[in-house]
């Protein structure tokens, strides 16, 4: 047991038994990497001291929220893991006079946050399929978008202030978007988010939906282009033939559209609830059928036909939000070796191999050049010893 780490956080916040290290060797990527130690910070100074210590002994430090990431970014061989699960407090909450915001520690789970906010008829609108477990820190590290991305875009748009420790342990209090971009969406490789002040909105009370069915991909893409321009669009979700059958939607492709007004044809609350349950539950349903490897490539809309055709031919289900032309697809054990073929197909069509889940360890070889250059620059500035999430996104030093 490391005495220095115990001195920082206390004996009860350090794990290094055989069972603990085995439990922390996995995340949702299905890779296995056994760490050397797990540490739970409780406050900002803990994070700073741990990073400083790791710099002194050149120990890679992996930042972990709920471990729902599917690219291996929450695990690391012989690393120290900093688990933020116990940094889950609300620091400040304003819902009346000064505007609507909340300041949070990074380990707060999105669903728990919205459950708390619902008492005040407020919400944080970045609702991802992993919201039942994923943390605000994780959502910010990947700059994720949620189900309702057509209106609410990505997480960076909802931050008004951040407290961050970079890879050298230096503290920053940031309140402008340009500097946010250094730490949000950089997959924890540049800095550890210690707290975030986020903007809130009132719950949506008036909305409607549409459900469209298509026999072929061409008509689907045509309708997709048409719907994207509609006023009041909140979410646009695609289910292909396979996922539609699992969801009892019938044969063919289906688009489910949600509007922030009465423009949709479905307005009965019970019908809308049923459709929403399908949207939110589809990943679990697919996992139960054996489709446990998930991907999220995105392509220019006029290039998506080839990808759809490839996925259809290989019987790989598609299910998820079409925001930023993302195609959420799922592979089973027999199909998992096809993932690399798909990544190469996406690259060939000038697409991105990952839109929402990040690159992590798994997709490091497919990081776009411009993002790689940005990460090199940031690593040089904020983490030149390459302590944070070493080996993820790029091979620095």
């Amino acid at each position: 047991m490391n005495k220095h780490i115990i001195k920082i956080v206390g004996r009860n916040n350090v794990l290094d038994s055989d069972e603990d290290l085995e439990a922390y060797s996995i995340d949702a990527s299905l890779l296995e990497r056994r760490p050397a130690l797990v540490v739970f910070p409780k406050k900002i100074t803990d994070i700073q001291k741990i990073i400083n210590y790791c710099n002194r002994i050149n120990m890679p430090l992996t930042l972990r929220g709920a471990g729902t990431n599917c690219t291996g970014s929450a695990i690391g061989t012989n690393n120290y893991i900093m688990d933020f699960s116990r940094m889950n407090k609300v620091i400040e909450f304003e819902y009346e006079n000064k505007g609507k915001f909340i300041r949070l520690q990074p380990g707060i789970v999105i669903e728990n946050l919205n459950r708390f906010l619902s008492n005040y008829k407020l919400m944080f609108p970045i609702l991802t399929p992993e919201q039942s477990a994923c943390t605000i820190g994780g959502v910010l590290a990947l700059n994720k978008f949620g189900f309702r991305a057509f209106k609410y875009k990505r997480a960076i748009n909802w931050i008004s202030e951040l407290e961050v420790l970079d890879g050298t342990g230096k503290y920053y209090n940031i309140n402008n978007k340009e500097d946010f971009e250094n730490f949000i969406g950089t997959e924890g490789c540049v800095g550890a988010i210690a707290s975030a002040k986020i903007k809130l909105i009132k719950n949506i009370e008036n909305f409607s939906m549409d459900l469209f069915e298509f026999e072929d991909i061409v008509h689907l893409i045509t309708k997709w282009r048409e719907i994207e321009k509609k006023e009041g669009l909140i979410s646009l979700v695609l289910f292909d033939r396979i996922s539609s059958l699992f969801l009892d939607l019938g044969e063919g492709y289906h688009l489910i559209v949600e509007y922030e007004n009465n423009k949709g044809s479905i307005i009965e609350p019970l019908k809308m609830k049923k459709l929403k349950n399908k949207i939110e539950g589809v990943q679990n349903l697919l996992a139960d059928k054996g489709y446990i490897y998930k991907d999220d490539p995105s392509l220019p809309i006029d290039q998506t036909y080839d990808l759809f055709k490839w996925l259809n031919t290989n019987e790989i289900p598609i299910a998820g939000s079409l925001n930023e032309n993302t195609v959420h697809c799922f592979f089973n054990q027999e199909q998992k070796n096809l993932r690399e073929e798909m990544y190469n197909l996406v690259k060939k069509h000038q697409g991105k191999v990952s839109s929402n889940y990040g690159y992590g360890i798994l997709k490091k070889d497919y990081v776009p050049q411009d993002f790689k250059r940005k990460m090199m620059r940031l690593k040089e500035k904020y983490d030149y010893n390459n302590i944070l999430n070493r080996g993820e996104v790029l091979d620095y030093k």
Partner: protein, 144 residues
Amino acid sequence: MTKKKDIIINKDEKEKAGLMDIAEIKKHIKPCSFSGLNREDCPVFRVLRKETVSPRAKVLFIKNENLTNRAEIFYKYCCLCGLCCKRFCFSDMKYLIRKVREYLVENNIETRLNHNIAENIKVHGKPYGDRKKIRDLDEFFGLK
């Protein structure tokens, strides 16, 4: 850990009792995606907030056939509420945990805590024995 008296159970009785070995228990794990989505549903995780007691970790230990060394996790850190399977998981975790516990008992694997609770029930009729005030549970159960 203390050992119980040896109990000889022949194969027929074993089958009659529905006892399984590790390989058979493993077959009952549905393809787990290790998504971790159900961890906040687990009341044990909500209190202790470490991955080691999450439903995902328990499935991992079964998958790695690591039951003997993880006995305490399976005995102590699951209250069989089944909440982990209500929303996100189609495995029957209650059934799995019960089968693992049966396997551990069948193979004479118990923790000191199990043993002390069992002895207290035999002698006093209660798991905590006859003490009216328990200041320190760990000390009471002889774990310190």
